[in-house]
Amino acid sequence: MSQTDPAEASSELASLRAKADRLAAQLVEEHKMAELGRLLASIVHEINSPIGSILSNNPVIIRSLEMLKAALASGDRAALEKAGRQVETCLSLAAIDKIACERISEVVRGLKTFVRADSADLRKADLNKQIESTLKLTHGQLRGRVAVETDFGELPPVACHASMLGQVFLNILVNAGQAIDGPGRISVRTRAEGGAVHISIADNGCGIKPEDRPKIFAGGFTTKAVGVGTGLGLCLSKKIVEETHGGSIDFESEVGVGTTFHIRIPVEQGNDPAARAGGRN
């Protein structure tokens, strides 16, 4: 084989770099889809009750109205009385249908803010709202097992890629839920601090082992069973918070007591990531 021409080598290097970038982007997308798949399972559970109710209520209401129609036509007193009672039932079923539809549309709305692919879109967003809609998505996974407490401070609108930050919150909330074996608690707190917004997400789960702590933000590291975690969640979260938003992400953890993640996002996005980073603990 002849010696490689330097120009050829550098073009090969460039193409390899482009390939690596493409693979990295693909990995990110795959992680997002895996997360979404898991999320969908709990969303299905979340909307099955309201859908079941609506499907059950509809024929009952129709039957009742038919009874009422027949009773009105016949003018029979007993039939009218029975139909009258049935109207009360219909009213309560209609009220339930409304609640059920609202529940379904809330979940769908939450899902929309999560999957909106306009990552290039830097907008002013209310991070409390973003956290709230993320919590709606995790509701099904945590319901009945983990109590979620929120303490939202007044926040200025933050110039950010809201759906990407939603992904960060989701990763940390899902991790928190998985760290808790049996019943537990997750506390979400937001505060405006100087030029940044500080979000802390605390769980009273199993905690992170000291030897795992330096590795948790590394890609491919997971303590979860095969098929449960991709090992990319926190790695991506760090990228989104620090590289995309010039913020910071860190954590404190004690085995058997729990873990708290701190995310700080600067309110304004400047050009120099170092200058705009929020204060640290």
Partner: protein
Amino acid sequence: MSTNQRSSVVIVDDEEMVITSVRAYLELETEFEIHGFTEPEQAVKHMESHLVDIAVSDYLMPRMSGIQFLTRAKQLQPEVSRVLLTGHADKQSAIQAINEVGLYQYVEKPWENAQLLLIIQNGIERSKLLRELREKVSELDTAHSSLKNVQKRLLQAFL
């Protein structure tokens, strides 16, 4: 425990809307007595003093799961038919639990009214038959032991 003529159905779901919908349908179609509870603990309390033909329960509930509740229901009333009404997402774990505690039926949400009604009707018939069977067996037992007594006295009299 009171024995009433009307068949008694217990529905447990932490979502009020499910109870209301199932109740409205069953009240329209049947003469069953419907008792709905959003807290499984209250349903347990009810079953401590009222005879129930069928218990239908949600799976995922705070504090007490549907499986825990239905296990408790069987301890209280061995003949009660037990049905799990659950969302699709927890199907696998639900099926495992069903096999472990031996439930009568499993219904997925969103449920179909006609199917649910059929399951409830069959479940009621099943528990009534089982209760009848138990009564007959205990009648047979009594008859058997009194026969044995007679036989014993006969033997004592003649030997």
